[in-house]
Symmetry: D2
Subunit: 342 residues, 4 copies
């Protein structure tokens, strides 16, 4: 078998660029096409000089029938139809949009204010391998998690599964994200002049869209619903998420051991030794998530999760999922950085 | 009466520089001297070009006997002896160090790992005017609060006073500070190359020194002790603090009204309207603190407090205290920015 | 005479915001209206929390007939018609756009790719007071210079006037600007994720639009044309310009004296002492320009000019011009910073 | 033959960290030791979380006799004695300090204000492969160039060699560097609070130490001396150099062709197509230098050179030199990024 012929839909956003970089260096991938509507006919390097050397095509012109795999970095509502089209031709799909993450089209409509564009595809396996990879092996289609959603679930799932979390008090997650998490489409609030020197919370409480997928997935681990308070902030950095979890817990002294045991077999999630706190510096430009645990009083655990929103929060997790779909070792193409020049 | 003759001890740190700028523009102040050991004989502008035009002197050479007021921006353990010396000559003192904030020398030793340098001066009124200015009026000596300590107390005191806070669950404060809060003495962790692109928690839980003064002062409002979990982070910005308070509360719907009522008479603390969240952009380079309130579920209130660590968290609060000591209107020299050029 | 009743057209860009802040604190100004098409009906603080507290109106609804002065912070081609309308009602105008800077409508068309929108208004006095304020006194209409244009002219005009510049070699100006110089309209190249960590030259050589006004004005001082090479760069800072002038010169040892003599009477332009180099830190958030001179070999002078692009490069220079128009002391409202809270 | 056993002296500075990362991923290298005086006994990850997992030793304890190659990332005056010690044991050396770059110990003393610590080692081949790699093949000891020095020489050498540069006018290089170029030893001027929002020129004209090595080496290409004006600036970014060369030239239209021809065979230096300007974004985190050429008037060429000061300006160039010393393909370990996790 030769390399897996692969296409990217939506290659010129930050996630698409990062994915193009990873795939062009992946030893088992041949990157066949990358789409862009606004830059069709130009080279991907024209919009990001370190990107791989590939000519962009409009989605309609992409030679879909010649590939075995597509990655969708399209806006929500546009991704699901593209997934349906690919799946109909027996082409595997990793969708990095929100379209296929929620099992219930009604919930989708409630959070995304649009009817679900392809409800017949649901449910689709949710691709957070460290929290359950059996359903991802040889999957035809995977919904790649949101960046915040990955961070929050990594911190909570093993503790919920262990029955340590008190259900009658709020779980607070105070999260901070780099600006690339807000996409590359020009908007005033992500201009340099607005972000530099600032820190701004937004959509705090129970209003951020990632809550829907977080709560759906955590239920598999015993989460009972509506307990989570999620407080995201926009940081003046380009990439990285640090999420502080404040967890009401009956036996805080067990938290480290449970997390350490859960992630011990994992190559891409590390629990830091006692006394070391997770920072963005641990993870930016890597496919890793790191976790620190601090216990300060009975009834509370502080769990910090750091990851790169464009990598473990998007593109490198998509590659993990791809590897699982194709029975490749899960970290193929991730533990050595890709070539820098094209 | 002419202008109040004033000196600054320790003018070349970030707080000293900001204070020098404010005092040189204060209509009732004559800035007589500013000290520095390492730069004695040089102009203050040699270390910061926008600083006022004043020649630095070594502390020993400062004409202490010619002034009526001193501000101490010295390291802890050095400030209290300087305070004692000034007070002995009937010169008023605002101490911006930690030396005079804790009433109990034993608590000081526990947190600062040194015997208290002047226990006979204790207790000294704690200068957070919005939480009690009667003891500051005409005071001879005031202990200026820490920057984080100001933010945390502004968010909690009115709610404790109203009896709204549940005493049996943790109060979590997830705080983020600009780098000038760590001082201007060179240290590796505050180099540009370390801080840019990073976000790092430090001294989290119950280990940050400001906890001592916060808990001491909050007891005046009914705080019962050891309930506070304080989680500071170093932000890649030069100035500003944003502190998210997660408060276990019986009647969250009363939180906004209590805070709004408490701060309604205040010129320098603003409670934002519903739907607007506090950000650094509201406060940097101003003497203001702003507060936002969000209630998302029964039993929890989210209170965000933003302030400029060098101003409301240090130098402009020192000027408020100075104004109170001398029976001047509290915002004198603060609500119009000082001249920019010397 | 009461305060001068004043309106701002285009208050929500970075220049408009800065101007609103200055004018709301100006002791001789009453700020009557501020316009915005997209935010009409909202408060200016809704788009920038430290802005003055004023409700925005659409330009068509602005009570033009009730004011004595307008400032135009509109896009080019839109400003000149607004100027014409105001002048027709005997209302004075400072135009911060490029519309009225070039005397020759043909040159305007060449650089701005549109016919001049109001050629009958030309020529308009060019408002760079330190290079000629006589034509500005009591003027009815002033064209406020561009930010780069101010920096370049301040460094060159006195040397050209002294006959020191060799006309047969290029003058190179390598200039670096903060991102607010590119405006507040969302564009991909000014997103935080593009600018942070980057430095990018653009429009280098003889292609930047400010060349036209620079060369037009420098001719008054003996510039002979087409000698200037202008190389702007986008810096990862929000504000400030630093322009390094490399000037072919016959007697470099006279450069400092000529510049110092020219600017000695000026309150807002400072020539730094030998050995001190101009930096952004000297000028950001101030109405000042600072200049340093370095001579390293026969035939070349290095002149560095620093200013804040939003102040001396735009809004505070507009206030200088306004003061001159109304026979006020030129630095009124500039040498004490405006109130911070509204 | 097995992997080449290698040690790093001075692994905890920015250059040492980058080199450790590259070497730990180099397919032909076994990293045997890494030294630090202050952190001996600790893991390298304790000072930089993404560093390779290796325990630091004090230089005296390093098992020098067990290695075949050392890299010296020591301060100047300390590196040359370490080089001498290694060479005496027949161990190859790449010295990243300034100690071995200047052929004349008298010139060293003049610029570094100390007697040369090991004059008997001089001259040592200067390791800028694209400007002459024959003397580097199988060399025992190589002096790795300075970061600015690499950028300046790459832009000028081919043009000097082609006889295009006019010798009677200044060559101006206006260069801008990220802060890691100033090292990791704490100093006030590289604190985050000083650098953010600022741009500051320093050591401008003929006073920067890199001038000495630049002029020494350029003489090999026909440079006649003292014609270069070098104007470095400190940028608020962590890494990257952009150097604008303003070159007096007789036939500017030949510049692009000469540079393109010179670098056509090179894998790590790229001349950009007409219309594309070099930026930091092209090069940071890569071993590349990129060059753009702009000609705007007779007699002047603008050549921009961008590189990562820690890579092509230090660590990756050191690996190029190492590869040449050992007859390995020059880009071994450079064109695929090293593993991210240890």
């Amino acid at each position: 078998m030769g390399r897996i012929r692969t296409g990217i839909y939506g290659a010129t956003g930050y996630t698409g660029l990062e994915l193009a970089r990873l795939l062009s260096a992946h030893p088992e991938v041949e990157l066949v096409f990358a789409t862009s509507e606004s830059l069709a006919g130009k080279n991907l390097q024209s919009t990001w000089p370190q990107a791989p050397d590939i000519e962009l095509v409009a989605a309609q012109q992409a030679p879909l029938e010649t590939v075995q795999q597509v990655f969708l970095c399209l806006p929500h509502t546009q991704a699901a139809p593209a997934a349906a089209q690919a799946l109909a031709q027996n082409i595997k799909v990793v969708d990095l949009s929100a379209d296929l993450r929620l099992n219930d089209p009604g919930v989708y409509q409630q959070w995304y204010h649009a009817p679900h564009p392809a409800p017949h595809l649901l449910p689709v396996p949710y691709g957070l391998p460290e929290l359950g990879r059996e359903r991802l092996l040889q999957a035809r289609c995977i919904a790649n998690p949101g960046c915040y959603a990955t961070a929050v679930q990594l911190g909570l799932a093993p503790l919920l599964a262990a029955g340590l979390v008190n259900a009658d008090q709020p779980i607070v997650v105070d999260a901070k994200s780099g600006v690339t998490g807000a996409g590359r489409t020009p908007k005033q609030q992500i201009l340099f002049g607005e972000v530099t020197g600032n820190l701004s919370p937004y959509n705090i409480g129970r209003s951020h869209r990632h809550l829907a997928e977080i709560e759906q997935e955590l239920k598999r681990f015993g989460y009972q619903g509506e307990q989570l308070v999620f407080v995201p902030h926009l940081l003046p950095v380009d990439r990285g998420i640090l999420a502080a979890h404040y967890i009401p817990i009956s036996q805080p002294e067990r938290v480290r051991a449970e997390l350490a045991a859960w992630y011990a077999p994992e190559a891409l999630v590390k629990v830091l030794p006692e006394g070391e706190l997770a920072t963005l510096r641990h993870v930016v430009h890597t496919p890793l998530a790191v976790i620190s645990v601090t216990t300060v009083m009975p009834g509370l655990a502080i769990v910090m999760v750091a990851l790169d929103n464009l990598l473990k929060g998007a593109a490198s997790q998509a590659v993990q999922n791809f590897n699982l779909m194709w029975d490749l070792p899960e970290t193929t193409g991730l533990l050595a950085k890709p070539p820098i020049v094209s």
